[in-house]
């Protein structure tokens, strides 16, 4: 009996590595600490009532933000481990099997569990406020999305200490990801972690699409809508058409592994190349959908801090929409070496075509700044850093789009440098800019600028010293995903510089965490509701906004309506209040998420009974919601008036 428990535990838990034991201990300690703090301060009830059951988009946004920063830490540690291994030739800091696991989890976590939730954090924090709505179109579904993402991400991260991490690359190419080559539960963790959070992403896409199209304040025609909301709309268009493809791709891989089907196997008539085709049909739109909201942030920030209306509004909208449509016609450029030359020619041209709308956007930002009164506030700094970084990233992208040349670049460090340049320079800088910009609105205090400046320079210097050498390494022939190299290759000096750069970015992140902790205690309260002298509706209400956002829904007359009303000295303060219709909190999303987790865990270890219990739980949660009758309530007018008077100050 004891023996069998022992062997089970040895299989179940990952053993034999000091890093893992360290992780085990820290997970245990953090869990105990959290439980202790919650119990000691009697906060369990508060946690349940205010957060776990909330359907308020602002709170859901904050939870997305916290989760994504945690994931950025995890993914960042992965990156630093890899760079440490590569700092010197023939290093044996990480054995090659661990190295494979770490580059896999780094990629997956950074795209799906860091960039996506950071993006949804911004969607949730900003979109309803910016379009003058009280919440998203489906507040309950919004909570379901968050908990699906959260439990999916937790399931994926669990693989580090239980069962073993996936190690077939961030997109799990078949046939390597098939049962024949990757037996253990690691690959199943990948499938279920992403599948569950992917369902949440798809639901969010539908939710925000409908919110933007249907919930705008009266008078806000689509062509008067702020550009960030436009970028979210374009991003949602991509989500609703791309994520079903991911669902199917992962589903087919699961059927292959679990039921012994042969979609992507080497035998049985399967075709591994077809997996690559499918995953990139989702994967390419995916990277565009995370960058589009960053473009939206830049548009808002540039206009606000240059004190000018955005240049070329209509061309900006057109560029966003054309990028979202074009993104579905470029997927083959990820595997030029596989397809036929006619196919390659077509997809090389479509890929290059995307540079046109992107170029339009860059020029428009520059023209907006031209002769503006530019204020060097933190959001603006990140925007200014973005432009040259993204420009270089975009240009190397055009180089990679030249199909014959790509035969040389592909799978080398040149590619690694390229996509980090667009993803960090575009997406991460953009989201940072957005977080700095809207932070006072959501939290009601500003972040310390001095610490922010440190973080900014560390990130930028670190970024360039990490990735510029990698372009050269690519030309020198260093292949991606190699866990080590010899002295005779001549790759050492550049790799060493690259590692130093990575640690500088890590230091930048620590400064940001410090900045947040410091500002929570010492930050300046934002009593005006409009700290940056903003232009759009979210700045017309107090910071942080009351749960119903707008006591009275404003009527919009033009683009940048709030700005022009300020100029004309028109007050937006309401005089008469009415009662407000609000959705009730619900525990079902959290419970449904937990059942997803149970189902995913069961299917990962192929404990079918547990998987079935989990799936039944999910189904019961859905039916319970369907049977529910009283889903909303009213806040009486007197209470609204009282709340508004007590927040005061603003406006």
């Amino acid at each position: 009996m004891l023996e069998s428990i022992k062997t089970f535990a040895a299989d179940f838990f990952v053993t034999g590595d000091p890093l893992i034991y360290g992780a085990d201990v820290s997970i245990l300690l953090v869990t105990i600490a959290v439980i202790f703090v919650l119990t000691y301060f009697k906060k369990w009830n508060w946690l349940w009532r205010e957060w776990l059951t909330t359907v308020d988009h602002k709170k859901i946004g904050i939870m997305y933000l916290i989760a994504s920063l945690l994931m950025m830490f995890r993914g960042g540690v992965d990156a630093l481990l890899m760079r440490t291994q590569l700092a010197f030739p023939n290093a044996d800091f990480l054995p090659s099997d661990k190295y494979n696991e770490i580059f896999t989890t780094h990629g997956t976590i950074m795209i799906l569990f860091m960039a996506m939730p950071l993006m949804f954090a911004l969607f949730n924090m900003v979109v309803p406020l910016q379009i003058g709505a009280r919440d998203v179109a489906y507040p309950f579904l919004n909570a379901v999305s968050f908990w699906a993402f959260f439990f999916g991400a937790m399931l994926f991260n669990l693989s580090f200490v239980i069962g073993g991490s996936p190690d077939a690359g961030w997109l799990s190419y078949a046939p390597l990801s098939e049962v024949q080559f990757s037996e253990g539960p690691g690959q199943n963790f990948y499938i279920w972690g992403i599948q569950i959070s992917g369902i949440g992403s798809l639901a969010s896409g539908i939710n925000f699409l409908v919110t933007i199209l249907k919930m705008r304040a009266p008078g806000m025609k689509l062509m008067k809508m702020p550009l960030f909301s436009w970028s979210v709309l374009s991003s949602c268009i991509i989500i609703i058409f791309a994520f079903p493809i991911l669902t199917v791709t992962l589903g087919l891989l699961f059927v292959d592994r679990f039921f012994g089907a042969s979609f992507f196997t080497l035998d049985g008539g399967g075709n591994p190349m077809y997996y690559i085709n499918l995953i990139w049909m989702w994967g390419h739109p995916e990277v565009y959908l995370v960058v589009l909201p960053a473009f939206g942030v830049f548009s808002e920030v540039v206009s606000t801090f240059s004190k000018k209306k955005i240049f070329g509004y209509k061309s900006m909208v057109f560029a966003l929409l054309s990028i979202s449509l074009l993104s579905f016609f470029t997927w083959v450029h990820h595997f030029f070496t596989m397809a036929d030359y006619k196919v390659d020619a077509f997809f090389a041209i479509t890929t290059m075509a995307i540079a046109i709308p992107t170029g339009v956007k860059v020029f428009n930002w520059m023209f907006t700044m031209f002769r503006g009164r530019i204020q060097m506030k933190p959001p603006m700094l990140w925007t200014l850093a973005f432009i040259p970084t993204f420009l270089v990233g975009g240009m190397t992208g055009v180089m990679l789009a030249v199909a014959p040349a790509d035969f040389q670049y592909h799978n080398s460090y040149f590619l690694i440098a390229h996509f980090h340049q667009v993803l960090i320079g575009g997406v991460v800088f953009g989201f940072f800019s957005g977080i700095y910009y809207w932070w006072p609105k959501i939290f009601g205090f500003t972040l310390n600028e001095k610490l922010g400046l440190w973080a900014f320079w560390l990130w930028n210097i670190g970024f360039y010293s990490t990735f510029m050498p990698q372009y050269a390494l690519g030309f020198m022939g260093m292949p991606r995903r190699s866990s080590t190299y010899g002295w005779d290759m001549g790759w050492w000096p550049l790799n060493f510089v690259s590692t130093i750069g990575a640690f500088l970015m890590g230091a930048g992140f620590i400064f940001q965490v410090w900045q947040i902790i410091y500002s929570v205690r010492q930050g300046k309260k934002d009593t005006t509701g409009d700290p940056w002298d903003g232009r759009t509706l979210e700045w017309s209400i107090p910071s942080p906004p009351p749960e119903y956002n707008f006591a009275v829904i404003p009527t919009v007359e033009q683009q940048d309506d709030f700005w022009y009303k300020k100029q004309q000295g028109k007050s937006m303060k309401p005089t008469k209040y009415k009662s407000i219709h609000m959705p009730k909190n619900s525990g079902i999303p959290f419970i449904m998420g937990s059942f997803w987790f149970i189902a995913g865990f069961g299917l990962t270890f192929e404990w079918v009974w547990l998987g079935i219990i989990g799936l039944i739980g999910v189904a019961v949660s859905i039916v319970a919601r369907h049977l529910q009758k009283e889903r909303d309530y009213y806040i009486p007018a007197e209470e609204v008036e009282k709340t508004e008077a007590s927040i005061g100050g603003a406006r």
Binding site: P244, S262, Y274, K629
Partner: protein, 207 residues
């Protein structure tokens, strides 16, 4: 006391922000349409898979050898009829007659069950003949495409049952009317998907 609180509730309902009360049911219906379109992409991906792997028999049986014309023709007409009967249920909504609605929904659900029954028989016969999901890429693609549709139909039946219970309990209210409308929309969509399975998988298969 009681009178006062009642009065207050009435007051709240009269006074709330009518000018900006978006029409909830229309927003929900729109969102459901968007969901259906995402489901369309999901099935399109499965059709793509079937198209690519269609001829990879791996030495196993072909569609022509496996598909039985009477069964899939019966499945098609059953589902087509159920789409029609679910439409008749929505006509009952307009007549404000819960009995008509429930009656036609039950007929629809029974037709759905018959469809699922036929599909299960079909699948078990195929497996007994040695044509399992692991036999060839063609069969993998076949089972997953047709099976995913079958799972959708089964979910639709459960959903319909939940709707029937609610109409029986609360009658035709704004809420149950909306729920009935949505579930029939879903049912029509499944019929549309089946038409393409009928054409691409079965008809081209037996050609």
């Amino acid at each position: 006391m009681e009178y006062a609180s009642k009065n207050k509730i009435k007051h709240i309902e009269d006074e709330h922000d009518h000018d900006h009360e978006h029409d909830e049911s229309s927003i929900k219906t729109f969102g459901f349409w968007v969901f259906l379109i995402t489901d369309l992409i999901l099935f399109a991906t499965l059709f793509a898979t079937y198209t690519v792997l269609r001829t990879r028999y791996n030495g196993g049986p072909t569609g022509e050898e496996l598909f039985e014309i009477p069964i899939f023709v019966a499945e098609t007409f059953i589902l087509l009829t159920s789409s029609f009967t679910s439409g008749l249920a929505t006509l009952g909504l307009k007549r404000k007659n819960p009995k008509i609605v429930i009656g036609w929904l039950i007929v629809t659900a029974i037709l759905g069950l018959a469809f699922i029954g036929l599909e299960i028989t079909e699948f078990t016969t195929l497996v007994e003949e040695g044509a399992a999901i692991s036999t060839s890429a063609f069969l993998s693609a076949f089972y997953v495409l047709v099976g995913t549709h079958g799972i959708h139909v089964s979910a639709g039946i459960i959903w319909m049952a939940s709707t029937i219970i609610q109409i029986a309990r609360y009658g035709i209210t704004k809420d149950t009317e909306h729920k009935t409308y949505i579930v029939t929309l879903y049912w029509h969509f499944l019929d549309v998907v089946w038409i393409f399975i009928f054409t691409v998988v079965y008809l081209i298969g037996v050609m």
